[in-house]
Amino acid sequence: MSSDTKTEDKGKKKARPGQKVDFRSGNEMASLAASHVNFHLMGYYPITPSTEVAEYLDEMGANGEHEVRMIPGDGEHGAAGTCYGATTAGGRVFNATSANGLLYSLEQYPVQSGTRYPMVLNLVCRSVSGPLDIRGDHSDLISALDMGWIVLCAKDPQTVYDLVIAAVKIGEHADVRLPVIVADDGFFTSHQKRRVEYFEDRKPIQDFIGPFQVINSSVDPANPITIGPYMNDPDQINNKKQLSMAMGAAESVIPKVLEEWGNISGRHYRPLETYKMEDAETAIFIVNSAADTTMDVVDKMRAEGKKVGMMYPTMIRPFPSEHIRQACKNVKALVVADRADSYGAHGGRMSHEIKAALKDDPDNRTMVISRIYGLGGKDYYFEDGVGLFEVAAEAVKKGKVEIPYDYIGTSPGDPSYNPPKGKPALTKEEQSPGIIKVVQNETTGKLDVKGVKQRDLTAMPHRITAGHGACPGCGIFPSIGTFLKGIEGFVVMLWHTGCGMVVTTGYPNSSFAVTYIHNLFQNGAATMSGVVEMYKERQKRGEIAQDQDITFIMVTGDGGLDIGLGPALGSAFRNHNMIILEYDNQGYMNTGHQLSFTTPMGHATSTSNIGSVGRGKKFHHKDSAQLFAATHIPYVFTGSETDYKDLIRKAAKAQWYAKNEGMVFGKLFSDCPLNWRHPDNNGQEVVQAGIDCNFFPLYEVEHGITTLNYDPEAKGKKIPVTDWLKTMGKTKHMLKPEYTQIVAQFQEEVDRRFARIKAMSENPLL
């Protein structure tokens, strides 16, 4: 640790032999590294800001640039499971995630490390919800520190590339055999383009990492093994001792691998990078992208004659304790800046680990000060770094630390500020114009809905208000808005993560005139079931008036019924008095149009690219309405704003069933002009074409009896699927000759599913 970070050779524009100079972001560099490693498999689930890693890799794969097998998960938990299984089957595995994606899959990480299967995870660091925040901080990263994974930190796009490659070799080392996280900062690094270098072909990387050494293979019938036994005491502690020993081995393996890579690439990394630390009296320790800005601050203050320095880690698991002790020998005050808080621990996580490291040096007198910065992705400016050095200087001057732990960059707010009022609460009377009547036939038990008149229904107040930030022509709001015209009285809604939620509730604004809850992508239905049952219990206990009547509607879309299918089915099995509405827009639109399980075959998305070998999505669309029909809840329907009278009629029935019998599931065909790529104005025509080609049958299932509400053939409106596919940019390629077979398969599946619904409609027993 005697010399500072070598920087002089990074300034040259000319590439090193075999390498290319380019202008790329962190996510691009992660995917380039993955393509050069040519992992056998990537299991992933899209989550901002890591999504692009899979997107770029899929796009390269669609053009035959690598052989990485791409498996879209049903959620991050499932993706981690896919990765785990794949590692047991003896190959190189890659994943990328962020924030709640990491936490959702967290229980899988000790499985991966405890059974000793190496893989590489690119953690693109982001603030953990809630409230939901998509920008970069380290609240996800600190949750990953005790999982038995090696954790490397990449402060810029170049480092992302180098460390993803090095991680392969580190984790697979015979003395290590551990999975590795490469963490870089969401947006600051993942989406910022910098001048970078990378190898023009994968050979130097392949030579560097060598062939994968298979240990404990799950697909070797000649050598049957048991992976993951039931292991209580006295054995599990020894498994963990081994893991700890492997982590110890990694401490010496990592510098060696980094040195070897440095000799090949010309880019050198050390476990702890120090900058102007030799004679520094005050210093900052900071992780990842903010280290860059801090170095600029050091340069400026050095020019003013101040003895300042800084350090940032390349690895934090194992933690570079000895390197830190060496670097801090003569430091009088050190500010440890954490981009995450360990609430209640009187300091950020890194500050505690550094204090612990320094405690082991009996001669060390460094005062360590904890400052929390940049939560939720708040920018770290040059002035912030200056301010941190002032905190350290103050401690040196006074000989003590007055405020050992604090936040920087917060705002107290203006207590005299009165935010503009929204809308007065809608009364029950205002929301109950009494236009629609639902009557149950006493003999047949069937529901009859009267009064669906769209002119009269303009009197129904909008529970969702104007001023939301959806794209022009968004189909979500006509779909849900039209449904709500059929719902009388008080409404409480829960929307889980997705476009609809993001564009309506950007703090401090809300487009909900009624009470609204958000919970994460996978858990909306379960959350709403808790709301419903608490409401009933409080009514039972007399805490809420018996005659108050709320209709509970949970809204999902943007693929939320992929990751959230389990909890939604669970809620259906329990038959709560609530409505689940799925706006099916055939993709994860809030993260930039990745495939969802509802994306039909052949459709192009950012993770089902078309190219020289890519042919769009490889498997058929999920039929969520039939999944819910199979739970035998009282009422399941499909609907579309294009047949708004049908949809409003179904809404009125849904409310009746939710109030009197239990769970209702409705699937709405909701267009997305941005990602389906059609003009903003003609969403209804595109959706209608999807209905007229029988892709999206309009039907309802009451008490298990199916009624087809619209038969295009009977109305003389039936068209081939190609007449729908030609209306959208995401499917236009399917009209080309090379897609003939895929279109035929798609048409056959559409026809088969429609015929099935029709047969069910004609036979109450089906």
Partner: protein
């Protein structure tokens, strides 16, 4: 290699682009960054301010250039730009648009206004104002405003090589969009030629607009705990006109039957209704107007209206009174 005409104390020439999603500011920033770093040999960086990826929402793109031997470390947004590029005329008067702009800043505005008019709209204290009617060029060439603005950026910068940008326009359009290359290069050339530029001294007319002048009104002392919003539906105060891309629906009340279908199809809940008594003495719903503040110009309502009571019009040709009233007879 060209020299940067002016740099800040870290050695950067800094550009900030202000736009909304869908106008290509992100791509323009990428092309500019690639042209500068890979084409012209500067070092530099480029990134955009991201929220959720929505068309019509504000977006900023940042580009930094420095000499090739300087290491790029700064990764926070550009706060004192040497060049500010404003993609939409409607954004000129936005609060904070000019934050950090000073006498050395070149402000490029996509507008049909003169530099004097644009300066007054923006309330610029001092600096160079460059106006270019990029929307007109884009409409005529069937391209987007971003390419025209890149032409103006190159010409007004005094150091950016137009050929380098053209090379990266070609590369970004690639084989996939090869048919767009020629019209885009023409758009670029027109952007480089058809602008007007004027420098304004600080004549005391408008104050400076430094960065971060204002503190946050809601903070840890007055945020409702848990982040709950207790002002239902307060997004109604928002003005979304910036989301429109040139067209608006116009309501011809004389043809309207108040059938209610527009109210079904409008994603932005813009239609204003009230009760009236019809000829038979019955109380009925009557469509009164469009709330243009919330209209994003998607024209779904024009598509659905069976009575031609909603028609598509080029926004700047529509009488301002119609937009204020929300209808015409």
């Amino acid at each position: 290699m060209a020299n940067l005409p002016i740099v800040n104390n870290l050695g950067f020439y800094e550009i900030r682009m202000e736009s909304v999603g869908g106008f290509g500011a992100n791509l323009a920033g990428k092309i500019l960054g690639e042209a500068g770093v890979l084409g012209m040999g500067f070092n530099g960086s480029n990134f955009s301010s991201y929220g959720s990826e929505k068309k019509g929402s504000p977006v900023k793109s940042f580009i930094r250039f420095c000499s090739p031997d300087i290491i790029v470390r700064e990764n926070s947004p550009v706060i004192e730009p040497h060049m500010l590029v404003i993609f939409l005329e409607t954004m000129l008067s936005y609060p904070g648009m000019l934050s950090g702009v000073g006498k050395d800043t070149v402000v490029i505005a996509n507008t049909s206004m003169t530099p004097d008019q644009a300066r007054d709209t923006m309330k610029l204290q001092t600096g160079t104002v460059v106006t270019i009617d990029a929307m007109k060029i884009a409409v005529e060439e069937k391209t987007r405003v971003n390419t025209a603005l890149l032409g103006t950026v190159a010409a007004a910068s005094g150091f950016i090589d137009p050929e380098a940008i053209k090379e990266y326009i070609r590369k970004n359009l690639g084989k996939k969009y090869a048919f767009l290359i020629e019209p885009n290069l023409k758009t670029f050339d027109r952007g480089a030629l058809e602008f007007t530029s004027k420098f304004f001294e600080d004549d005391g007319k408008y104050p400076a607009q430094p960065f971060r002048a204002e503190g946050q009104k809601i903070g840890y002392m007055n945020q409702v705990i848990g982040g709950a919003i207790t002002t239902p539906g307060n997004s109604i105060h928002k003005d979304l006109t910036v989301s429109r891309s040139g067209y608006i629906p116009v309501l011809l009340l004389g043809k309207c039957t108040s059938c209610g279908e527009c109210d079904i199809t409008c994603p932005d809940y813009c239609f204003v209704w009230d009760k009236e008594t019809d000829k038979k003495g019955k109380e009925v719903q009557k469509l009164l107007s469009i709330e243009y503040k919330h209209c994003k110009g998607c024209l779904r309502c024009v598509d659905i209206c069976k009575f031609d009571a909603l028609v598509s019009r080029v926004e700047y040709e529509v009488d301002k009174k119609i937009i204020e009233d929300g209808y015409t007879d």
